[in-house]
């Protein structure tokens, strides 16, 4: 993170230099426009435009096959707020965020702390932890469906062996009951969260590692001389100095976690899972928009999600404000 801040600083230096930059100085300005134009066209048509357009859609009763799309004001939003299934989807999504953001960041941070310590094989470990990140969610979900199989899945096989081994050692455990990872509503979200943490932990790990590597070694040297133990070093040096990284990772984890879709979609074949326990906001939007063809209602769900994410982001950016000032 500090590397990033540094890059931004040197950026602003060269930006002030660019006021006397030859290329920009004498060519009037329309050339600059021209360079930016191809991207700007795409940006306006396929990103900014749809972002605004989506809001107008959400204000209309918009069925795909209908010729007319009458304006209905906030009726779609009111419908969503009094729709029990919308609330189920919101609750499931919030539960997922609540599981995946703290736990996922904890895993990423611990892995990064380990990586920061090792002197050999660092690349090997990094590659191993990052590898799941580069795989498509479709592959990840299909693979974990197999690992989660109740009868012959790897997870239950090993858990069974472990529990039985402990029993033979005389621990007072009851016989192992295979865990219905994906078929019991109570297990659905924890299972999806575990899979998602495996899939994504490597990404934030790299960011935490970059943050750790940017802490000046002098601090650690001083702590060593003072005879601090590992926990004290972490508590009073690494953790506070890593704060910007931690907040940055949290913001983007929350942003990503609220948008969960592929996991449920692939695991439950486009359905909502047992007792709708796998239904998330984006999946519900997809079902309404593309299976029920209630485009207007789907857009309203999308904008409610947008509002929730924006509120979360705003709160977290408040916490980040010192850093963000240098950013813009």
């Amino acid at each position: 993170m500090q590397a990033e801040a540094k890059a931004l600083d040197s950026g602003s230096v060269s930006q002030s230099l660019s006021t006397r930059s030859a290329a920009g100085g004498r060519s009037g300005g329309w050339i600059g426009w021209l360079f930016a134009l191809p991207h700007l066209i795409l940006f306006f048509v396929f990103l900014l435009g749809p972002t605004v357009y989506g809001f107008f859609i959400s204000l209309r009763e918009w069925h795909v096959l209908a010729k007319q799309h009458p304006f209905v004001g906030l009726a779609n939003y009111q419908a969503a707020l009094s729709d029990d299934i919308f609330w189920i989807a919101l609750r499931n999504t919030a539960y997922f965020v609540f599981l995946v953001v703290p736990l996922g960041n904890l895993v990423s941070l611990l892995l990064a702390l380990g990586l920061g310590q090792v002197r050999r094989l660092q690349t090997f470990y990094k590659v191993a932890f990052y590898m799941p990140v580069v795989i498509s969610i479709a592959v990840v979900a299909v693979l974990w469906q197999w690992l989660y199989n109740t009868q012959v899945g790897l997870l239950n096989l090993y858990l069974g062996t472990m529990v039985n081994g402990l029993r033979q050692l005389g621990l007072p455990l009851s016989a192992f009951q295979p865990i219905p990872w994906l078929s019991d509503p109570h297990w659905t979200m924890p299972s999806i969260a575990l899979m998602s943490i495996w899939w994504g932990a490597g990404g934030n790990m790299i960011l935490y590692l970059a943050g750790i590597n940017n802490i000046p070694p002098d601090y650690y040297e001083a702590a060593r001389i003072d005879g601090a133990n590992a926990w004290q070093v972490f508590k009073s040096i690494t953790w506070p100095l890593l704060r910007p990284t931690t907040l940055f990772c949290l913001v983007f984890s929350v942003l990503g976690a609220f948008q969960i879709f592929g996991q449920s979609y692939v695991l439950y074949g486009g359905g909502a899972g047992p007792g709708r326990a796998g239904l998330t906001l984006v999946l519900y939007m997809y079902q309404q928009g593309f299976s029920q063809y209630e485009i207007g209602y789907g857009a309203a769900i999308a904008y409610l999600l947008f509002a929730i994410v924006l509120a979360f982001t705003a709160v977290q950016f408040r916490l980040l404000s010192n850093r963000e000032e240098s950013r813009s």
């Binding site: 990033e4 890059a7 040197s10 060269s14 930006q15 660019s18 006021t19 930059s21 300005g29 600059g32 426009w33 360079f35 930016a36 191809p38 991207h39 795409l42 940006f43 396929f46 990103l47 900014l48 749809p50 972002t51 357009y53 380990g114 002197r119 094989l121 690349t123 990094k126 590659v127 191993a128 932890f129 990052y130 590898m131 580069v134 498509s136 969610i137 592959v139 299909v142 693979l143 012959v152 790897l154 096989l157 495996w198 994504g200 790299i206 960011l207 590692l209 970059a210 942003l255 609220f258 592929g262 979609y265 074949g269 928009g289 857009a299 999308a302 904008y303 994410v309 924006l310 982001t313």
Partner: protein
């Protein structure tokens, strides 16, 4: 002894190695399963045998040869073509724009750039419905256009490259300008050659993200021939369901290209993430 343990970090390595195996195990299990016969999958040593016995390629054979129902070669071709096309589009369009925001002056530049940065916080899923309608109106539904052109709108690459371009000393450009170069020649002969690493990073990110894209191909296409590999996987899944050997063979085929690309370019990728602060997903 204690000193040796401290020096060699033995304890730390044992923990890290165990964790690394834990992270790799699902992938290895995917590969193992894909090489097993159905009986071996369900029964072999209580189904937890790590080495297939006998090892067989029959799953791959089945997956690759049922082209009527599962045109996997076509899907692979689609994924490859779309990923390459998006990567090319993004590299061209974003490098031009990033040069403009980093070096050229025009009215409103900084305000426009601020809008670009702000939209990086728009959740991509919000765009699905309006983009779908737009693609319908453009008659791009179920075509390559729908999966290629909109992907060029993202501001991520512009942001990444601008940040990199700003680290290039301005003096180099001034020298080029004194030699009579216009902005485009400065861009082409000075900026781009110095930015190969950044361009490679953005290119790899874009390729992998497009290869793995899920929502777009799911919503903007609907014919069997226009699907990409990730959607193809879900089509397999609907058909083979619990025939895990076949499912894992398909999964291995879909995952292999990105895994190879990652192993090949891991240095660039990991450096790119730590420099830009964005995981590229």
């Amino acid at each position: 002894m204690k000193r040796f343990l401290y020096r060699s970090q033995l304890g730390l390595h044992i923990v890290m190695l165990a964790l690394a195996l834990l992270f790799l195990a699902p992938l290895l299990w995917m590969l193992t399963t894909s090489l097993k016969t159905p009986e071996d999958i369900v029964n072999g040593l209580g189904a937890a045998r790590w080495l297939p016995r006998p090892a067989t390629l029959v799953n791959f054979h089945t997956v690759l040869n049922n082209v009527e129902e599962f045109p996997i070669w076509r899907w692979t071709g689609n994924s490859l073509f779309i990923s390459l096309a998006v990567t090319a589009l993004v590299l061209v369009v974003d490098s031009l724009a990033a040069f403009s925001y980093a070096r050229l002056r025009w009215r409103g530049r900084d305000q426009v750039f601020a809008v670009l940065v702000a939209t990086m916080l728009v959740p991509g899923q919000v765009l699905l419905i309006p983009s779908y309608l737009l693609i319908r109106q453009l008659h791009w539904f179920d075509t390559y256009w729908a999966l290629i052109v909109p992907a060029g709108a993202s501001a991520f690459g512009v942001f990444l490259l601008r940040q990199f371009f700003q680290t290039i000393p301005v003096e180099l450009e001034e020298a080029a300008f004194l030699d009579g170069c216009g902005p485009f020649r400065v861009f082409w002969h000075v900026i781009l050659p110095l930015s190969k690493a950044a361009l490679a990073t953005l290119g790899i990110f874009t390729f992998m993200a497009t290869w793995n894209a899920f929502e777009g191909p799911l919503i903007y296409t609907d014919s069997l021939e226009m699907r990409t590999l990730p959607i193809g996987i879900t089509i397999f899944q609907g058909h083979y369901n619990i025939q895990y050997g076949l499912m894992m063979a398909a999964a291995v085929l879909a995952a292999m290209p990105v895994l190879f690309a990652f192993l090949l370019f891991q240095k660039h990728i990991i450096k790119g993430i730590s420099l830009t602060g964005l995981a590229g997903r």
